[in-house]
Symmetry: C2
Subunit: 143 residues, 2 copies
Amino acid sequence: METSRSESADIKQHLRALGLRPTRQRVAIARLLLRGGHRHLSADDVLAEARRAEIPVAQTTIYNILRQFADVGLVREVLVESGRAWFDTRTSPHVHVYDEVTGAIQDLDHDPHALGLPENLNLPADVEVKDVSVVVRVSYKSK
Amino acid sequence: METSRSESADIKQHLRALGLRPTRQRVAIARLLLRGGHRHLSADDVLAEARRAEIPVAQTTIYNILRQFADVGLVREVLVESGRAWFDTRTSPHVHVYDEVTGAIQDLDHDPHALGLPENLNLPADVEVKDVSVVVRVSYKSK
DNA sequence: TTTTATGCAAAACATTTGCAAACCG
DNA sequence: CGGTTTGCAAATGTTTTGCATAAAA
């Protein structure tokens, strides 16, 4: 895989714009995460992908970077089961469908903000909505 | 605190109806959880309350019971942060507002099912919606 | 050079497991 | 009794921390 000079430059600029120093690891992980296709990855998945891509990075750093990326909205944290966090490379509004049997997470093209929710919240002026997450938990009807 | 005979009987019957043997621990924990007021409790909170109420029960059992209770719908698992699960003693439909700063979870009287969601799912016939969870993540505007 | 990030190893947690003893029906 | 459930201790898995080294500005 070839790393184009301009792609790196773009990502560096992107990270800077988000207030993050474009370190070697952050740039490499960002490229890895943002390359086409929406995916749901655990921290360990990202570490594995990084290793595969021969990106020199420690597990601790993966955790740091994923938290930072989630903070600035580069990825979205998805909580569907206690004990492990998933990170969604799709940041545009959508709903998650979680299969309790297989553990699979699927995206559903539906904007949670279009649900008339935030308006109904009656929130104080200084309160800011950071995210609205919708998870539809499904399983299979027995017989 | 006095334990009325009939209250115990009610709970036992309730548990049986849900397919759970009314063991000493399950009955005691159920009574503790279902006594008035909607709350969001961690497994550890429940253990602490049990100790306070002098209910003889082990941590392992709390975990078992909470999972079972969630399975049969006696409580609802709430996932708002990775690494720890909360259990909501309110089972009627509502939305959660999670304060990222204080960690507080609040209920919002709004039925997620009234959002036109399940109908839009286009799910296969054998797929069953077990739960729809909505979490509005908020924090405070700076300055 | 000054600040910030990385990475290692060790902690810290929440949750689960294996298995013997106790309990429920 | 016979299948479940409990509870202990140990294990597991994920995420965090402390701190020295390295990289960024």
